[in-house]
């Protein structure tokens, strides 16, 4: 619980991170930044996929189309929020000289993407598109 509140405090006053530990090697910080940017690109790709489902599949039934688009958009938002949270936690761990935090998020995201793909296959196989 105290870990959670401390995490929340970092969210609203992220400059506090500089108070902890020592500044790590600049190369580690830059690598962490690139990982953060890669996650942001993943989030942007999911959001773009949500736009694309809505715009380029006009034949799909409205409910299926909106559901898929909303699912992709929600995954993109989660991915972006988690990207900054993970970046802050990694930066803090590096400053304190601790192990980098482990995360279940990549497994979760791949499950969601697989589910959306299976849903698309089902939609195409049963011919629900075009009605």
């Amino acid at each position: 619980m105290s870990d959670f509140t401390r995490g929340l405090r970092l969210w609203f006053a992220p400059e506090r991170i500089r108070e902890e530990g020592d500044t790590p090697d600049y190369r580690f910080s830059l690598a962490n930044e690139r990982t953060f940017l890669a996650w942001i690109r993943t989030a942007l790709a999911l959001i773009g996929g949500g736009f694309a489902v809505d715009q380029f599949l006009p034949g799909l039934a409205w409910g299926i189309r909106a559901g898929l688009a909303l699912g992709l958009l929600a995954a993109g938002v989660l991915c972006a929020l988690r990207a900054v949270g993970h970046w802050v936690r990694c930066e803090r761990a590096m400053r304190r000289g601790e192990d980098l935090p482990a995360s279940r998020f990549p497994a979760l995201l791949s499950l969601v993407v697989a589910l959306v793909a299976v849903a698309m296959v089902v939609v195409v196989v049963f011919g629900w598109e075009g009605r």
Partner: protein, 103 residues
């Protein structure tokens, strides 16, 4: 060997290019957002959605520009948390406008 000090692994350059790639991805999403709003017809809500998407894109552009210009030295300072939060806020804003124009 004289000349300016540089990182042997070209870490600042790689990070700068990562920002460029991310800005490009953001531009594609913003273009899709503007298209979405324009397809719906010239309504007041559509104009609002176009303006909001452009604003989010400009915000991301400003963040990336600030970071990329700070990357000119051989040993750049770590990414300020404020910039990271601003970049994420722009990304989330684009998704929220997308969800709003769905209905």
């Amino acid at each position: 060997m004289t000349g300016p000090v540089r990182d042997p692994g070209l870490q600042p350059e790689r990070t700068r290019l990562a920002w460029r790639r991310t800005t490009l991805a953001c531009t594609v999403v913003a273009v899709l957002g503007v298209r979405q709003a324009l397809v719906g017809g010239a309504t007041g809500a559509g104009a609002l959605a176009v303006a909001a998407s452009l604003l989010a894109w400009l915000g991301f552009l400003a963040v990336a520009h600030r970071r990329v210009t700070g990357m000119g030295t051989a040993r750049p300072a770590p990414l300020p948390p404020r910039l990271a939060l601003a970049a994420v806020a722009c990304t989330v804003a684009l998704a929220v406008f997308a969800a709003a124009t769905l209905f």
